[in-house]
Amino acid sequence: MTDWAAISNAAFTVALFCYLAAMVLSFAFAAFRRAPMHAAGVVVGTVGLAANGTAIVTRGLAAGRTPWGNMFEYSTVLAFLIVGATLVLVEWRWRQPLVSGFVYAFAVLTMAMASLYFYVDPGDLLPALNSYWRQIHVTSMITASSLLGIGCVMTILFLFKDRAERRAVSAMERQDPPPIMGGAIDADAPPDFAAGADEPVPETRQSTKRGILPSASALDRLAYRFISFGFPIWTFGVICGAIWAQKTWGRYWGWDPKETWSFITWVIFAGYLHARATSGWKGRRAGVVALVGFVSLFVTYYAVNLWIAGLHSYAT
C-alpha cells in the first residue's frame, strides 16, 4: 500500500515540475514565436498530464477508493482537468497556442497550494463521505471548477488585451493622418465598415496582430465557451450536493459556508451569462463580473476550508 502512495507522490512532483517547464516554454513561445518552443511546451505539458493522471490513479490504489475525498486529492484532480481541457480544447481543437502558459501557471499554483497546505497520506474517509453521491457531486464540482477556472484565466487575459486594444485605438485616433487601411480616410465613403457593431467586441481592431495574446474578441469567446460549459456542470454539482446533504444531514440546504459560497459563485456566473445579453454590460463589465466569480470560486474552493468552519471542513 505504501508503495502506491510513494509512486503517487513521486508522480505528483513530476507533474508539478512538468507543468512549470511547460509554463515557461509556453510563455517563451508567446514572447519569441519559435515553433519548437510551442511543440516542446505541448510535449512537456502532455508528459505532466500523464504523470498527473498516474498520481491520481496510484493514490486511488493506495487508499482503496476513488481518489477525490479531501482537498489534496481534489486539487490534484483539478490540475489534471485544467491542463487536460486546455490541451484538448484550446490547443488541439481550437488551435489557440498563446494562452496555455497562463493555464499551466494556474495548475502549478493549485498543485503547489495543495502540497503546501492540504497534504495528507492516503487513507479512509469519514462515514458521511461514504456515498455514491459524493462521487457524483465531487466529480462534477471539480470538473466545473476546472472549466470555470480556465474561463476566468481567459477573462483576465481578455480584460488586459481589451484595455491594450482600446489604448491602441485611441492612440491611433490621435495621430494625423490616421494610418487606417493603409492610407488616409476617404471622408465620402459610406460608413459601412461600422457593420458588426452589435458584436460584444469588434473583431478587427488594428492592434490584434501585435502583443503576445490573441485578439480580445477571441479571448472573450474562449472565456464564454468555458464558462457556459462549466456553469451547467456547476449547477448539476450543487444539486447533487443538495441531494447528498438531504441524505446525510437531513436537509438539502442549510447555508453551511461551503454551500453558501457555491451558491454565491453560481449567482455570480449566472450574472455573467445575463450580463453578456444586457446592453451596457457586454464586454468589459461582463468580464469584471466573471472576475468576481473567479474570486468567489477561489473562496469556495480554498478559503472556506482554510478559514471558515463548517460541515465541509472535514475535507481539509
Binding site: 487513507g123 479512509d124 474517509l125 469519514l126 462515514p127 458521511a128 461514504n130 456515498s131 453521491w133 457556459s228 456553469f231 451547467p232 449547477t235 448539476f236 444539486i239 443538495a242 441531494i243 438531504q246 441524505k247 446525510t248 444531514w249 437531513g250 436537509r251 438539502y252 442549510g254 447555508w255 453551511d256 459556508p257 453558501t260 459560497w261 451558491f263 454565491i264 449567482v267 455570480i268 449566472a270 450574472g271 451569462l273 445575463h274 450580463a275 445579453a277 444586457t278 451596457g280 454590460w281 463580473v289 468567489s296 473562496v299 472556506v304 471558515i308 468552519a309 463548517g310
Partner: protein, 529 residues
C-alpha cells in the same frame, strides 16, 4: 410633471415605472449581485442558526460594532427581512420578465415562420441552380429543410418558404427560469409546513415525536399546524466502527419504530447516509455520545435513577475529539439545600489515569473500566438547564472519582464498599463510614444516539424544480435560433433557388451549417451553375 395630471394617472405612471424597472435585466443583475454580497456576509459572520455560541463570543468581543450588526440582522442573514425582500424582489422581477416572454413564446409557436421580402439582404445568402421545375424544386428544398428539423411555412403562391429552428433555446430558458418558481414553492411549502428537530435517545429508552421531547432542539415552519407525527422511536443499540487509524467508519442506530396509533411496528437501522422514512417523517443519524446511569439515594430511598446524557467540550488544537472527557450534570432540586453534581466521564479508565500521570490525552473508542470524576456543589440552583451548571450561588462541598459499579458518599466524597476504591482528592476517608445519608452509584454506561427527525413535504417539488433547472439550462445555453428562407425563380428549363439565412446565436457554427444546407438543396436536382 404636467400640472393637469390627476393623482390616478400619476399612480398608474409610477406603477408602470416600477414594473418596467423590475422587468429590466439590469435590475435582475443588480439583485443577483446584491444577493451574492449578502450571502457572502452571511458566511463570513457567525450565524445564529448555525453557531449561536460564536455569535455570543463575537458580541462579547465587539460591543458597539456587534450591536450594530445584530440590529441589521447580519447574524441571521438568511432569515432576515431584508434578505427575504431581496429574494422577493428577484422573484417579482423574474415573473415580470417571464410573463411577456412566455406569451411571446406561445405566440411564436402558434405562428408560422414569417416570409422574408428581400432574401439577399441576410448575412448568409447563396443561389443554386437546379434542373427541376420551380414547384418541384421548392418542394424538394422544403423536404431538405424540414428533414433538418426546421419548421417550414410556404407562401400561398408556392414560390417561397420560410423556416426556423431552435425554438428550444427560448423554451429551455423559460423552463429554466420558471423552475425557480417551482423550487421556491417547494421550499416555502416544505419549510413552512414542516419541522426538524433532534431527538436524544439513550439505549433502551423510547422517545415519542412530540414538541416537548425535543428539549428545545426543534425548528418548526411558519405555517406549521398539523402537529407532530407522534411516532415512537425505541433505541435498541447504537454502535460505531472505527478504522485502525481512528477514523470513524460507520455509525448505526438500531431502532424499533411504532406509529402513533400503535398499528404499525417496524425495526430499522438508521445509519449515516441511510435515513429511514416512517410515519411521514424521515429519521437521520446525526450524532452520538455517552450517557452514564446515575442512581442517587437519600436515606436508602432512591431519589433519582436515570442515564445522564453527556456532551464534550471541543477538543483543543491537535487533540482528537475522541480523547475529550464527557461532561454531564445531576441536579437534585428537591433537596434543601439543593445539590448538583458535575460529572466528567472517561469511557476508558486507562486513558484517565494516563492523562493524570502524563497529561497526555488519548482517544477513547470503547468503554473499558469507565470512571467518572465528579464535583458536588451545594447551595441554590439558578439554572434549570440539564446541559449547563451555574454555581455562583453554590459552593463545592466534595469531589472524587467513581468507577463502574461503585458507590460514593456525596457529602464526603468517600467510597462506600466496592472492591477497588479509586483515588479521591487526597482527603482521608474513614474506614467504613457510618450511615451516609446521600449516596451516588454508577452502575453502568450506555450510548445515546442523536437522531434528526424532520418532515419536509416540499422535497419532491424542490427536486422537480432542480431537475427542470438542469433540463432547461442545457438547450438554453447550447442550442441556437436560426432562420432560413428560400425563394424559387424559373430559369430557362430549370429553376434558381435563392437561399438566405441568419442565426441569432453561434454565428460561426451557422456558417458551416448553412453551407451544408445549401449543398443539400443543390444536390436534390441535377445542379448546374
Amino acid at each position: 410633471m404636467p400640472p393637469s395630471s390627476s393623482p390616478a394617472s400619476t399612480l398608474r405612471r409610477s406603477v408602470g415605472i416600477v414594473w418596467r424597472t423590475l422587468r429590466s435585466m439590469r435590475t435582475a443583475l443588480v439583485l443577483l449581485l446584491a444577493i451574492a454580497l449578502a450571502s457572502a456576509a452571511g458566511s463570513l459572520l457567525p450565524q445564529i442558526p448555525n453557531s449561536p455560541e460564536r455569535v455570543v463570543q463575537y458580541l462579547r468581543d465587539h460591543e458597539i460594532w456587534g450591536e450594530l450588526l445584530l440590529r441589521a440582522q447580519l447574524f441571521d442573514v438568511f432569515g432576515s427581512w431584508w434578505f427575504s425582500l431581496l429574494m422577493f424582489l428577484l422573484f417579482v422581477s423574474l415573473v415580470a420578465c417571464l410573463l411577456p416572454r412566455s406569451r411571446a413564446m406561445i405566440r411564436a409557436i402558434r405562428q408560422a415562420p414569417v416570409q422574408a421580402r428581400e432574401i439577399d439582404a441576410f448575412p448568409q445568402y447563396r443561389e443554386v441552380r437546379v434542373g427541376a421545375e420551380p414547384v418541384d424544386a421548392l418542394s424538394q428544398a422544403r423536404r431538405v429543410v424540414r428533414r433538418r428539423g426546421f419548421r417550414v411555412a410556404s407562401d400561398p403562391g408556392n414560390r417561397a418558404l420560410a423556416a426556423e429552428k431552435g425554438i428550444l433555446r427560448e423554451a429551455g430558458s423559460l423552463v429554466f427560469h420558471w423552475a425557480f418558481i417551482v423550487l421556491l414553492v417547494g421550499v416555502i411549502l416544505g419549510k413552512g409546513t414542516g419541522y426538524a428537530g433532534r431527538a436524544v435517545i439513550v439505549e433502551g429508552q423510547t422517545w415519542t415525536d412530540a414538541e416537548a421531547n425535543y428539549d428545545g432542539q426543534l425548528r418548526t415552519g411558519r405555517f406549521f399546524t398539523s402537529g407532530h407525527s407522534g411516532i415512537q422511536i425505541h433505541l435498541d443499540t447504537f454502535s460505531d466502527r472505527y478504522a485502525d487509524t481512528g477514523v470513524p467508519m460507520d455509525f448505526v442506530s438500531s431502532v424499533e419504530l411504532t406509529s402513533a396509533d400503535g398499528s404499525d411496528i417496524d425495526t430499522a437501522e438508521v445509519r449515516v447516509n441511510h435515513p429511514v422514512s416512517f410515519g411521514g417523517v424521515r429519521i437521520f443519524q446525526f450524532g452520538f455520545g455517552w450517557a452514564a446511569v446515575i442512581e442517587v439515594e437519600r436515606n436508602e430511598q432512591a431519589i433519582r435513577s436515570a442515564p445522564v446524557v453527556m456532551t464534550q467540550d471541543t477538543a483543543p488544537e491537535g487533540v482528537s475529539q475522541l480523547a475529550m472527557p464527557w461532561i454531564g450534570f445531576v441536579k437534585l432540586t428537591t433537596l434543601r439545600p439543593q445539590v448538583a453534581v458535575k460529572l466528567e466521564l472517561w469511557p476508558d479508565g486507562g486513558a484517565f489515569f494516563q492523562a493524570l500521570q502524563t497529561g497526555e490525552l488519548v482517544p477513547m473508542i470503547r468503554a473499558v473500566d469507565p470512571v467518572i470524576r465528579y464535583r458536588v456543589y451545594t447551595g441554590k440552583l439558578v439554572d434549570p438547564s440539564q446541559a449547563t451548571l451555574d454555581t455562583h450561588l453554590m459552593k463545592r462541598t466534595a469531589s472524587g472519582v467513581i468507577g463502574r459499579g461503585q458507590t460514593v458518599d456525596l457529602q464526603t466524597g468517600c467510597p462506600i464498599g466496592g472492591d477497588a476504591p479509586l483515588p479521591t482528592t487526597g482527603r482521608a476517608c474513614p474506614e467504613g463510614a457510618a450511615d451516609p445519608s446521600l449516596t451516588m452509584t454508577f452502575p453502568e454506561v450506555r450510548r445515546y444516539s442523536v437522531l434528526q427527525v424532520s418532515r419536509d413535504r416540499g422535497v419532491p417539488l424542490v427536486l422537480a424544480g432542480a431537475i427542470l433547472i438542469l433540463l432547461g439550462l442545457l438547450p438554453a445555453l447550447y442550442t441556437s435560433r436560426r432562420k432560413v428562407w428560400v425563394r424559387v425563380e424559373p430559369d430557362d428549363g430549370g429553376s434558381v433557388l435563392k437561399v438566405g439565412g441568419f442565426a441569432l446565436q453561434r454565428k460561426e457554427q451557422f456558417e458551416q451549417e448553412f453551407d451544408r444546407l445549401v449543398a443539400a438543396i443543390g444536390a436534390t436536382g441535377e445542379a448546374s451553375g
